[in-house]
Symmetry: C2
Subunit: 300 residues, 2 copies
């Protein structure tokens, strides 16, 4: 313990590894979860070995109408008892109402909106973007806004959330404005950036994406399960502020507007661990995942 | 049937979708599997619901020594009865000998080489590279050689296989030349291109990657399973030329040196399907997966 404490207060090496950058991070490099825009989804019926918790942070800055509607749906318990309907390999896992197409059996939306505008983009100007200097290919400018990977077109003054691993979006039909947040998907494969600016991204998975990505792939077209018993049930979804504080996941997220984040990017761009013999000098927007950690226990 | 035949012979639209490009493809746009460098891995003990077939095409042009050694190991039945040891979310699934570290219990390598040179790169000059015009970020030049995604540095005259989804590599320890093909991994997440030029890529999964990507993630460090019973058994691995012709998977691979492949890239770069409202004008090297199809039945 004494040694660990000494190490954690030492100055970081001039060319630190990612682990060394995180070890040298300060308390204020990390932020808590925002209980008003973070969802806890419990998957699996009680006792189902495949079940577990998925924690999703919503992005009201980028999709305010969808996020508000999803929060309404969650508070109305719309998702409780629904299921994961589709798992397509190297693409997405999607959940919602299996009876959504049935006028009689579809779950009622209560106070939630049936129809919303598409929220594919926001103005770039005014966004507190932590720029990624590396070339992206899909967009002229990329970076992060509060942990979310963002791509942008400065000439058009447009910015949008990039479809990186773990991103959560609102499924839609052919009309651009046909999503309302009742049908959600998470990216479980190589970033399908061709979806960018084509669909409303509403958030990202902070923990538990492995539960979705390891589900059996569906045998029907687009990975839909062809047998209802293949679907994994959603036991419940709650906004964190609906839970007593001691039942909320105690997770912190590394702030992406910090020198620590920039140092972490540099450590990943040029890996100093002895295993590496070649340094890329590059990091992809969707390779640069944002760390989380258990919240330190308060001093008692 | 008559309509389908008529459609398949019609000239493709001027701006076809990916489906239309493939529908208009010609028989010689497709190549058969090479039985001497394609592996069929059977996963799961008999009756194990998680089991199934993984088909792997090896890349002797890029890693001749490793591929030769893997073929020797397979023909000696080295892999039969070994297991998937590690599944790390958004990264790799890895298989090999659980007892590899034990001098007494490790499976003998027979006629296979214990030690091989690293095969991270080959000369670019002379490679029949189908160039991808789009910017990559990780490398100055990218494209495909016979279905494999390749990145290259023209000034240094070096080329290497890119770590896209489904790529198979040879695990190693810290020394660059510490892989010999006994421990293999497949990429099951967002392309970890930072591994490029750091490890020997030996092939890629042509079908069945979903069996590996949907396995439960391991709970130990780096996704190793912490309990032996979590490991999925490898029932057998065979070179296709060891199997009677009628027991070999009848799959064809789209040739990447064809106008059809170039048209497919263009269709994916600018999606014409009615669902899309924004066309990226770009495709990522690792987003452009190479299609396979069941071999057409010979006329009887």
């Amino acid at each position: 313990m004494a040694l660990a404490a000494a190490v954690s207060h030492a100055a970081p090496p001039a060319k630190p590894t990612a682990a060394e950058v995180l070890q040298a991070s300060r308390a204020d490099d990390w932020r808590p979860l925002d209980p008003g825009r973070t969802l806890l989804m419990q998957l699996g019926a009680t006792g189902d070995a495949k079940g577990g918790e998925v924690l999703i942070e919503l992005a009201p800055r980028f999709a305010p109408r969808h996020v508000a509607n999803i929060l309404t749906l969650v508070r109305e318990r719309y998702f409780d008892g629904l299921a994961v309907l589709r798992v397509q390999d190297n693409y997405v896992a999607q959940w919602g109402d299996p009876e959504a197409e049935s006028a009689e059996k579809a779950r009622p939306l209560g106070q939630a909106e049936r129809k919303l505008p598409a929220e594919f983009e926001v103005p770039l100007r005014g966004l507190p973007l932590s720029r990624l200097p590396d070339v992206d290919g899909w967009a002229q400018v990329t970076g992060w806004v509060d942990g979310f990977a963002v791509a942008a077109d400065p000439r058009a003054n447009r910015a949008w959330l990039a479809h990186c691993y773990g991103v959560v979006g609102a499924g839609r039909d052919n009309p651009a404005d046909s999503s309302n947040g009742t049908e959600l998907y998470a990216v479980i494969g190589h970033a399908p950036r061709g979806l960018d600016r084509n669909i409303t991204v509403v958030g990202r998975v902070l923990s538990g994406i492995d539960l979705l990505s390891s589900l059996p792939r569906g045998g029907a077209n687009m990975g839909f399960y062809d047998q209802p018993e293949q679907r994994l049930a959603i036991r419940s979804v709650r906004v964190l502020d609906e839970l007593p504080p001691d039942q909320r996941p105690a997770l912190q997220v590394l702030r992406t507007d910090t020198a620590t984040w920039r140092a972490l990017l540099e450590a990943r761009r040029n890996r100093r661990e002895p295993w590496f013999v070649h340094r890329s000098g590059h990091i992809g927007l969707c390779n640069a995942t944002v760390p989380t950690r258990p919240a330190p226990k308060p001093a008692s």
